[in-house]
Symmetry: D2
Subunit: 367 residues, 4 copies
Amino acid sequence: MSNVQTEKTYEKVVPEIQMWALEYQGPGKKDYVKKKKPIILAQTDAVVKMVKTTICGTDLHILKGDVPTVTPGRILGHEGIGIIESIGESVNKFKVGDRVLISCITSDGICDYCKRGMFSHCENGGWVLGNKIDGTQAEFVRIPYADTSLYSIPEGANEDAMVMLSDILPTGFECGVLNGKISPGDVVAIVGAGPIGLAALLTAQFFAPSEVIMIDVDDERLKRSKEFGATLTINSKNSSIKDIIMKITDSRGVDVAIEAVGIPQTFEVCQDIISPGGRIANIGVHGKSVELHLEKLWDKNITITTRLVDTTTTSMLLKTVKSGKLKPEKLITHHFQLSDVIKAYDTFGNAQKEKALKVIISNEVLS
Amino acid sequence: MSNVQTEKTYEKVVPEIQMWALEYQGPGKKDYVKKKKPIILAQTDAVVKMVKTTICGTDLHILKGDVPTVTPGRILGHEGIGIIESIGESVNKFKVGDRVLISCITSDGICDYCKRGMFSHCENGGWVLGNKIDGTQAEFVRIPYADTSLYSIPEGANEDAMVMLSDILPTGFECGVLNGKISPGDVVAIVGAGPIGLAALLTAQFFAPSEVIMIDVDDERLKRSKEFGATLTINSKNSSIKDIIMKITDSRGVDVAIEAVGIPQTFEVCQDIISPGGRIANIGVHGKSVELHLEKLWDKNITITTRLVDTTTTSMLLKTVKSGKLKPEKLITHHFQLSDVIKAYDTFGNAQKEKALKVIISNEVLS
Amino acid sequence: MSNVQTEKTYEKVVPEIQMWALEYQGPGKKDYVKKKKPIILAQTDAVVKMVKTTICGTDLHILKGDVPTVTPGRILGHEGIGIIESIGESVNKFKVGDRVLISCITSDGICDYCKRGMFSHCENGGWVLGNKIDGTQAEFVRIPYADTSLYSIPEGANEDAMVMLSDILPTGFECGVLNGKISPGDVVAIVGAGPIGLAALLTAQFFAPSEVIMIDVDDERLKRSKEFGATLTINSKNSSIKDIIMKITDSRGVDVAIEAVGIPQTFEVCQDIISPGGRIANIGVHGKSVELHLEKLWDKNITITTRLVDTTTTSMLLKTVKSGKLKPEKLITHHFQLSDVIKAYDTFGNAQKEKALKVIISNEVLS
Amino acid sequence: MSNVQTEKTYEKVVPEIQMWALEYQGPGKKDYVKKKKPIILAQTDAVVKMVKTTICGTDLHILKGDVPTVTPGRILGHEGIGIIESIGESVNKFKVGDRVLISCITSDGICDYCKRGMFSHCENGGWVLGNKIDGTQAEFVRIPYADTSLYSIPEGANEDAMVMLSDILPTGFECGVLNGKISPGDVVAIVGAGPIGLAALLTAQFFAPSEVIMIDVDDERLKRSKEFGATLTINSKNSSIKDIIMKITDSRGVDVAIEAVGIPQTFEVCQDIISPGGRIANIGVHGKSVELHLEKLWDKNITITTRLVDTTTTSMLLKTVKSGKLKPEKLITHHFQLSDVIKAYDTFGNAQKEKALKVIISNEVLS
C-alpha cells in the first residue's frame, strides 16, 4: 500500500537519464558517481531538483556501517532545499517550479501515527530519505507524499538558513526544547555542544529560560555556545559538572537536562544534575543501553523523554526564521559545491580540527 | 525554620502522658508499647486522636531496615483518619472535634516545591510521618502544618474508604494514572496487582481506557483484578507477556505501562511492551538501578516518569468517593483493633497466604 | 486546487446513472427524487454506497432556509455508514468493498488547519457534505479526500451505533466535554437535553465527574437523561436553575457549563451558574449575538469556548464503542427505510411529540 | 476564621502610633494624612515598612467611586516593596529586616482556590490591600498571610523593577500572555498600549511570537510600544484595524488578541480580528456587558478568557528579571517622594498629557 517503492520497480519502467550523486558503497566506502535520475512513481510524489543540501552526523554513522537499513548503492542525504521539477497528479499544495524545503521525515498524513502528529513513525514514511530510498545529496531526489513532506520556502528567505530546517533545528527543538518543556525562568543544561546541541540552544531561547548551561569537552565549541546565547559553559574535562551546577542552583539541580551526544556517560551526567520535578530530554542516538538510577530517581518526580524528530514544528520554525527570531545560518561554517561533496565529507568528518559545524553543499548548476 | 521538630525538644517540655503505639525497634524488631502522648509543638500543628489506620508496604520495608531515615524508637504509620484533639493557634481550617483524613505527605504550603504542587518535596515536610517523626499507628499523632496536611471528612463518608485516601489511592492515581496520561480509548498495562497496582486499576477507570491489562504472578490477585475492572489478566509465570500484548495490539504495544512492583524485571517488562509514543509511569520503590534500553527506545517517542505521591489530588478523590464513582473500600480485606496491631502486621506481611490486600486497624476506644 | 468540485463539472463528464435521494428544493421544500449517481472526480475521492444515514438538527435549519450556503437541488445529509463502491487511484487506506464510517467533516489532511488538527476549517473541506456538495441521504455519495475523511468500521460493530459517530458523538465530546475540560470530581451542567446534549452527557462520563446536571424544559428528555447517567435534572420551566445549582455547590456554581441549545437565554444560564475558574463550552448553533456579562465575569477566571466539530476524536470514540465504554445506540429512537425518508423527517421534526432523539434511515437495497 | 481583620479590632487594642498615608475620603476625595500605624493582628501577619510603592489604574477607579468595597478612610495602594518590621510567630519564610516584594493578591495558601492556584479567589484574601484593608501608599502596611503573600527580593535587584512585579507584570503576563497561550511564531495583537498592555507586550516576548501588533489611539504610546518590541503599531483613529490585520495575515486574523482597555469597543475589535482557532484574552476591567457575536463565532473554534491576576508567576518573573530577560523598569516614567503622593496622582491621572506610564513613590525616610 506504501508508495515508498524500491528502485527495482523504477529500473524496469524508465529509460535511463543520468545525474550525479553521493553513493554509499558499503561500510567505509562512498563515491561521487553517476546514478539514474528519479521519476514520479506515485501520484503523490514530487521530483525535486536540489539547490542546497548538507551532511548530518547520521550520514557518518551510515558510512561506518552502523545503520543496517541502508544498503550499498543508496544515495545518502535527508536534508535540503530545491525546486519542483515534476509532480504527481494528486499533489495539491505544490506545482512545478515551486521552491521547497525537504523535510527529513516523510509522512503520508493519513496513518494513525500521522494523525497523532507522530510523523516520525508514519507507517509509510518516517525517516526513509537517504536510508530506505535515495536521498538528497544528488542533483535530483524523489519525495513521496509531497503534500505532507515538503514546505514552501517564503519569498526572500535565506536559503542557507532553510537547509537547517530540514532536520537539525526541528530535532533540537522538538526532542530537546519541547520535550524538555522549557519554561520562562528555567535553568537548562545541554550536554553536548555539537550542531544538535547548538540547535537546542538556539531554540531554547524561544522560552526565556534564565540560564542555559552548555557542557562539552571542546573549548572551541563552548566558545561558540557563548556567542549563541549560553549563559554559562562547562568543559567537563577540567571541572566537576555536578559541583558547579549544584553550586549555582542552591543544590537543587537543573530544571531541564538535554542529552545531545548519545553515550552512557552523558546520560549519566543528566541524571546527576537533574532537580526534583525536572525533565531529561534525550536527543542523542544511542548504540548501547544505559544505567537508569531508579534507586535514586524513583521519588524525584522526574520525566525522561525520547523522540525521533516528527518535524511537526517546521511551519512554526519557518515563521520564526522569517520574523528574525531565529537565525539558523549561524550554524553554517563551510560551503562546498556538489562536485566537491567528498571534500565536504572530509571537513565535516573532522569537525573538531576543521572547526566545522554544518556545511552547505550547493548544486552548482542551479544556485 | 521547620516545625517538624524532634522528640528531644518535646521530652523536655511536657509532663509525660502515656498512650499505646507500634514502635520500630531496629531491623526486624517492633513492639506494641506505651509511648508519650504527643502535644502541640508549633502554632501550625494539630494533635489527632486516631480512629482508624492501616499498614503500608513501606512499613514492611522499614522493618527490614531498608529505610535509613527511620531510627529505633519511631512510631510507624503514615495513613489514617481521626478526630482533632488539640490545635495550634495559627490553624485556620480546622477546630477541635473535626473528623479529619491524614495525608501521608506533610506540606507547609509555602515553600517553592509546595507552590509548584510538589508537596512530596516540601522543604519542611514531605514524607515525614512514621519516618522522621512519629506516625499514626498509635492512639494519637501530631500533624505539623495541619491546614495543608489534613482534609475534612465529608458527613456520612465510609470511614474505611477514607483511610485508603491517605496514601494508596493518591499514589496509584498520581504516580500511575496521571503521570501515565491515561486517555479514553487507551490500552493500559499495570505490572503488579498488589494494593498499589489495584489502586491504579481503580482510578485508571476515571479516564475510560479501552483495555486495562493486569500482570502478576499470583492468580488470586489476578482474579481480584478482574472483579475490580481489568479487561484482561496475564500470569507472567505461565505466559509470554510480550507475545500476548503484541497480539492484542496489532504489534504496537500498550499506550501506557504502569510499573507497580519496584524491581528491574518488571521495569524491563514495561520497556518490552510500550508502543511508540507510549508512557511508562513508575510507581514502584526501587532499591537498585535498572537497565534502560535507549539503544531501542531513543527513537520511540516515549516518556518515563517517576514520582513520590504529592497528594495534590486528595480533594478530588474525596469528591469521587462521595459521588460513588470510586469505592476504595474494595481494597480492604481484614480488620483489626489497635491492640492487635502485631497480628495485623503478621497478616499483611503474609499477604499472598492470607489473601490480604489492605487491613484496617481501629482504635477501639473511639470507633 | 480543491477537489470539492461543483456538480457543474460533473454534469458535463458523466453519462447519467440514476439513484434516489432527498433533495432540498428551497426554504420549506424537500422531496425524495431521482438524482444523478455520483462518480469519482479526483484521485483522492471515494464513492460510497450508503447503508445507513440519519437526520441532524442542522438539516432542519437548512430546510427553514437558515443556511445560505445550501442551494436548491442539493442532496442533504452529512452522516452515515456505507460500502466503498469505487475509489480514486491515490487513496491508500481503503479499497472497494470496505465498510466505512463517513465523517461529517471532510479534511484534505494537508492544509495548515488540518495539520493543526482543526479539520473543521480545512481549506478544501470542512463541513461540505449536504451543504456545498451532495450529501448522504441518498443511495450513493461521493466523499472527497477519502483517506482523511472516512474510517474503517471494526468487524462486528453495531452499525446503528456507528452512525452516531459521524457527527453527534464527536460534536458532544469535542465541543462540549473536551473544550469544557471535564475532570474527575467536577460538577457539570448541560443546558439542553436534546440529542447533542445527551451525546455530551454520554461522553462526559469518560472523565468521572461527580455530578452531571441536565437542564431542559421537556420532562421526557430529562427522564431519559437520568437513564443516560445524569445525577440531577432540572426542568427550567418549574424551577430557578441558579438557586438549585448554588444550593448544591455551596454557592460556587458549576465547574463546567455546556450550552447545547443555541439561543441567548441558554447562554445566559451558563453565565449565571459558572463558578470562578469554570469553563463554558458552547455547542449550540447561534443565529443571534448574546450578551456577555464581562462586568461580572472579567475577574472570575473563566474560559468560554466555541467549536465546530473537528472529528479528530473519531478513532478514539471508535475504540470506546468497541470496548463497550460507550453505547451511542441509546440515542436512537426510530428506524426508517430510505424510501420513507420524508416520514423520517416528519418524526424527527416533531421530536417532542414523537419522543424522538435520533432516527436511523436504512438503504433497503443493502442492509 | 479569616485574619483579614477590620481596623475596628485594631483600634481597641493598640496605643496610637502615627504614620503618614494616602487616604481615600469618598468619591473624588483623597488626602495625605496621619493615620494609625498598623500592628500584627494574627500570627501569620507581617508589618512592612514601605520603601517604594506606585499607583495603579484601579486606584483612579476607586477615587471615582467605582469600587464599592472601598470605604472612606481606607489607605490606598496594593503594590510595592519594603522591609519587614515585625512579624507573627507562625511566619516561617521571613524574619524582621528582610527586604520583600508585596503581592497585590493576598493568599492564605490553604483554601480550595489557593490549592488550585487561584489565589485571586482566596477565601480569606484575594485583592484586599487598599480595598478591604489598608494598603501600601503609606509608611507602613500590615500584610496578612505573609508567608504566601510576600516574596524575598534577590540581592542587588533593581528595586524600581521589583515594584512592577507586585501587580502590573503578573497581570499582563497571566491574564494576557498565559491565558492567550502565546506560542513561538504566533501573530499577537494587543488592544491598548497603556501600562498593562505594555506589560503584556514585554512578557509576550518570552514566547517568541513572530508579530506583536499594538493598537491604541495615542501615537506617543505607540511610539513607546515600538521601543518595547512591537513589530507593528496601529493608531485606530486613523486606520481600519481589521483591514490592516487581515492584509498582513492573509485574511486569517491574529492567533491571539489581548484586550487591555476594558470597554465594549475594544472587545469588539478583538472579535473582529481573531482567527479561527484563536484566543481572546481579556485583561481589561469592564463596567458594562459586551456583545458577543456567537452568530459569527460559534463555529470558529475560539477561546475567550477572563482573569483576575493570581500572582502565581511572581517567583518565575523574579527569575527572569534577575537573569536580565525582563526589564520592567522600562515602564517607569516618573519618581516622587511619599510626601508628594498627591502630585504623583496628578501626574498619573493625566497620563497622556504627562506622557506617564508608571510612577515610583519612595518613602524618603528609608530609601
